[in-house]
């Protein structure tokens, strides 16, 4: 045996070692420097070190003044909860002040981070950098006895709240081709909100991340007022664009983007939503956030107000009376309010009994670190961090929740077929939007902008929302799947409940709106407009319609009959948008996004689409690599079996093969909040013209007749 040291010093080996080291170095540089640079160039984005105007250092004296103020505020709030109100105001005030000065009370009530920051010498809040000084790792309780320790930054960066998409399995969504999205064994593609163009927001996060809109409100008398708009307002990344890098199998978001994460919007009790507005710098527009020391010192357990900073927007809506965040629209460039509500089921003490009981969001959505469960059921294409974790009424209420009514056993009996929400959400907010026309906007004089026309809004059952069988599965375009447990072959919501509106009241309302729109848009044929809006399948050719029928039968029957279906309430919506007709199938065509600024400012919808699809990432979408990487797979799920056609719909500055259409069916969104104590009455459903259309729900005629008959309860009278 040779001496190993001797072998190493051998010239040939050292040459090899050096070559290997250089190769590794080149690969490392390539991965860390060249790849991110090339990727940003490819998608046409750039990032920079992110600065925030309100992240200012304080002097020690300023720090102490602020601390005193926050401490006093916190102690006063807590003392006021303890000291009874059944006494004279003056006596109460004296007692509150006494309690505020009591040493043990001070210890328990003072915001914990005042001491931490004072001791650590922290006088400026600099985003994740500051938090991670102490919280580099997080203990994660998985709820099954396992406790692990994870890297905090990594945990948040790989959560759906940051990425808005996932290529993991765990979707309960089926493609119209019958395949479960990203199921084991399938080629996985990144899907979620990041790349989902949606009829309600009218855009997608790549092209609509952050925009400044020049509005001309009446009261400004000719002057313009700048407003903020875009998907980024609700998303925790502070960068100039969403986390596109996360859609690739390799690579990571830039370090700067991680520094832009807004920890405090979720963790601070004093987060100022007035800091949430769009600002523009040399690179482009992006969203500001509250990085004041005041917000940082007020961190504490995540409370409802934190979640609702963003999520009341998609529950109660921006125009909802008790949307607290919507009361602070920004100290400048105020955020635009979306007047039509996405769901119209608010989570607030006024309209939800759980909120009234001070139940916290995280009591049901029990987080594991920064991963937050949304339940096993999901009708839409929204990524799920914890697909195996239940979020369900039964978790607390058991399978016999009714204890008070004389009919408690009967009410409990309904649980086998009805979800709790079916009775306990009696109505939604009346501004819940069902039909939205993006193609024919309406001038809003008060706001001074063109806004999409909400052709029909309603919060009433049977109008603003309907009842469908649901087993937890959904389709690629948010259609609830399920079937009557009797194995009905007649129940076909994709041809009926979600594809046609027959209610004469709604038809009349749509007609009235069409006549109103005709004044601005003389080309509108009122009859054709009403037909397309309320019978969107009429836009399909007979062959396409037949193909649709066959695909539902052949591809979706199994997913519909799976598991146990119950009747759930679903908010319905449809939208008229511009579509790329080159990529059309029986379930719709690829919808094209709008550029927010030009849309709101000019109302020229075609110009707005042209502006949006000029975005480099849309150009990339219409190129071969994107087609091969994900679009063919995406279109197959979409029901277009011929693959993605890369004909870019903009030729010589003009739209080509683009037509305005209503989507071929309505989307069905789950509604689970806005729970009311008093559910529907028996006779609301068990009557000939009740809320549930038993025949449409697949019941045999005899059974349907039986269910519409209230004799059991009449006998009780």
């Amino acid at each position: 045996m040779k001496n190993p040291i001797h072998t190493l010093s051998n010239a040939r080996f050292s040459r090899l070692a050096i070559a290997l080291a250089i190769l590794l170095l080149v690969l490392a540089i390539g991965y860390k420097v060249v790849y991110p640079w090339a990727f940003q160039l490819y998608v046409g984005e750039s990032s920079a070190i992110l600065t925030y105007p309100n992240s200012q250092p304080l002097t020690d004296a300023e720090f102490e003044t602020l601390s005193r103020e926050l401490s006093e505020q916190a102690r006063r709030e807590r003392a006021a909860e303890i000291v009874g109100v059944d006494q004279a105001d003056f006596a109460r005030e004296v007692k509150i002040e006494m309690l505020m000065g009591t040493p043990s009370f001070v210890r328990e009530s003072e915001p914990s981070h005042i001491k931490y920051f004072r001791d650590a010498g922290i006088r400026q809040y600099q985003g994740p950098k500051t938090c991670l000084r102490c919280h580099a790792t997080t203990k994660v309780d998985h709820g099954d006895g396992r406790v692990t320790t994870v890297d905090t930054l990594d945990d948040i960066v790989n959560s759906v709240h940051f990425k808005f998409q996932s290529d993991a399995d765990g979707f309960s969504t089926y493609g119209y081709d019958g395949r479960k999205v990203n199921a084991p064994g399938e080629r996985r593609i990144p899907v979620g909100k990041i790349n989902r163009a949606c009829g309600i927001p009218g855009s997608f996060s790549w092209t609509g991340w952050a925009a400044l809109v020049e509005t001309r409100p009446e009261h400004a008398e000719g002057a313009t007022v700048t407003r903020s708009e875009g998907c980024g307002q609700c998303h925790i990344g502070g960068n100039y664009y969403p986390a596109t890098e996360k859609m690739m199998p390799i690579g990571d978001v830039p370090v700067d983007a991680k520094d832009g994460i807004d920890c405090l919007i979720c963790h601070s009790a004093e987060y100022d939503m007035n800091q949430r507005y769009v600002m523009r710098d040399d690179i482009g527009p992006r969203w500001n956030q509250d990085r004041s020391l005041r917000a940082a010192l007020s961190v504490g357990p995540v409370a409802n107000r934190n979640c609702l900073n963003c999520h009341q927007h998609n529950m109660g809506g921006d125009a909802y009376l008790h949307n607290v965040a919507a009361k602070s629209l920004g100290e400048k460039n105020q955020r635009l309010l979306h007047k039509g509500a996405k769901r119209g089921n608010p989570f607030s003490p006024t309209d939800d009994l759980h909120a009234a009981a001070n139940i916290q969001c995280t009591d049901c959505h029990v987080p594991e670190g920064h991963k937050i469960p949304r339940g096993r059921f999901g009708v839409d294409l929204v990524a799920n961090d914890l697909p195996g974790k239940d979020v369900a009424c039964e978790g607390c209420h058991s399978r016999a929740p009714h204890n008070q009514s004389e009919h408690k056993a009967l009410l409990n009996g309904h649980i086998a077929r009805l979800a709790c929400e079916t009775c306990h959400i009696r109505e939604l907010q009346e501004n819940n939007v069902v039909l939205r026309d993006w193609v024919h906007p309406t001038w809003d004089a008060e706001e001074g902008l063109w806004e999409p026309t909400d052709v029909y809004r309603s919060g009433k059952p049977g109008k603003g929302f309907t009842y469908l069988w649901f087993n937890g599965n959904g389709t690629f375009l948010a259609n609830a799947l399920g079937n009557n447990p009797n194995g009905s072959t007649d129940y076909n919501p994709l041809m009926r409940q979600m594809a046609r509106i027959e209610d004469p009241e709604i038809l009349a309302a749509v007609r009235a709106k069409a006549i109103e729109l005709k004044r601005t848009y003389p080309d509108i044929d009122v009859d054709a407009y009403v037909t397309a809006a309320t019978d969107p399948l009429s836009q399909l050719s007979p062959e396409m319609r037949e193909r649709r029928r066959a695909m539902i039968r052949d591809n979706l029957t199994a997913a519909m009959n799976e598991g146990e279906s119950r009747i759930y309430p679903f908010k319905l919506f449809n939208a008229m948008m511009f579509e790329d007709m080159g990529n059309q199938g029986p379930f719709g065509a690829m919808i094209l996004p709008f550029d927010y600024a030009s849309y709101y400012e000019t109302g020229d919808t075609q110009a707005s689409v042209i502006q949006a699809i000029r975005d480099p990432i849309v150009r990339r979408m219409y190129q071969q690599p994107f087609k091969l990487y994900m679009m063919d797979e995406f279109m197959s799920y979409f029901g277009v079996t011929e693959g993605w056609r890369t004909d870019y719909p903009l030729v010589d500055g003009k739209l080509k093969g683009v037509e305005p259409h209503w989507m071929r069916q309505m989307g069905a969104l789950m509604i689970n909040h806005g729970i009311q104590r008093q559910g529907h009455e028996c006779k609301d459903c068990h009557a000939p013209d009740g809320l549930l259309d038993y025949a449409a729900l697949g019941y045999e005629p005899e059974r349907a007749a039986e269910l519409m008959d209230l004799d059991v309860l009449q006998a009780a009278d």
Binding site: A409, N412, H414, A416
Partner: protein, 316 residues
């Protein structure tokens, strides 16, 4: 079928004698007479609510969930499936909401079956006396005051195992009755049956009651006197022997089952040749058959040879 409102239910409940008549008629294949149809209507009216899988309420005293659900598909196959609901339950139950006094009813299986053929077949009086000594109703036993026949036997589902049911199914069904309360018995962490060799094999092929009851006077019946853990059988030889107690119970059923399925010949050849649970290797069966066959063949050939040799010698 049209729906009959509960309120106007006026059908006369079927008397026991008419039920026997119904059964006789059914056996003669004469179709279903009016009485049975009336019982059907009544049942259907009750099932309108009680067929709901989740019909239940939480008892304010015990705080436990009381299940009121009747499986509509199992009911017709149970031993009581031919009866109208109000033959056992009070007639006032036909009104909804059920009057309060109706809820204080009590049932006695023995009381119903005192004079009929069921007593002769199932000896319910013996069952009752055994049951009174059972660990479930022993003084100080948990829930002893609330324990009754229906704690184990759901009268709406209960049926007697018939020859033709797979023995593994019989074992599973039987054990499910015990395990619905004793859910921890199978928790491997607890090790209540840790001493038992081949525990899982036992659980799959022997019922809980086969060990947890004393050998009864009439060997073919399983006693209703459930024993304490200490008093239960731990003697392997009680079953694994030529004179096995198991052969008189579960395996008697199995023997009948074998007879019915494979015929007398197979039964005669492949019976439990050695001891319960340790024979019946089909390979050994076939090897022994082969050996016997070969021996016979050799013997026949030998005999034939001898005979042919004898004929040739005589001819010569």
């Amino acid at each position: 079928m049209s729906f009959v409102p509960i309120r106007f239910e006026i059908g006369r409940p079927a008397a026991p004698w008419s039920l026997i008549g119904v059964l006789a008629l059914l056996m003669l294949g004469l179709g279903r007479p009016a009485v049975a149809i009336e019982a059907d209507k009544q049942t259907k009216a009750c099932l309108r609510c009680h067929a709901m899988e989740t019909i239940a309420y939480r008892d304010p005293v015990s705080r436990e969930i009381v299940d009121l659900s009747i499986a509509p598909r199992l009911l017709p196959h149970s031993v009581h499936g031919e009866l109208a609901c109000t033959e056992c339950h009070r007639k006032s139950y036909r009104r909804y909401p059920h009057p309060e006094e109706a809820e204080r009813e009590s049932f006695s299986c023995v009381g119903c079956h005192e004079d009929d053929s069921a007593e002769a077949t199932y000896q319910l009086k013996t069952v009752e006396s055994e049951y009174r000594q059972s660990v479930h109703v022993a003084p100080g036993a948990k829930h002893a005051d609330r324990f009754n026949c229906h704690s184990c036997h759901d009268p709406h589902v209960f049926k007697v195992s018939r020859v033709g049911t797979d023995i593994a199914q019989v074992v599973r069904d039987g054990n499910q009755v015990c395990l619905s309360c004793h859910e921890k018995a199978r928790d491997p962490q607890l090790g209540s049956h840790a001493w038992l060799p081949k525990r899982d094999a036992h659980w799959e092929s022997v019922r809980c009651v086969d060990c947890h009851t004393p050998a009864s006077a009439e060997p073919s019946r399983v006693s209703h006197q459930i024993l304490t853990a200490e008093d239960s059988n731990r003697d392997c030889v009680a079953c694994h022997s030529r004179d096995a107690r198991l052969l008189n119970r579960l395996y008697q059923y199995r023997s009948e089952e074998d007879l019915a399925r494979r015929g007398l010949f197979a039964k005669a050849i492949f019976n439990e040749a050695y001891i319960v649970g340790m024979s019946r290797s089909p390979l050994v069966d076939w090897i022994s058959l082969l050996i016997i066959g070969l021996t016979l063949l050799v013997l026949t050939a030998h005999g034939l040879g001898r005979y042919l040799a004898y004929r040739r010698r005589r001819n010569r």
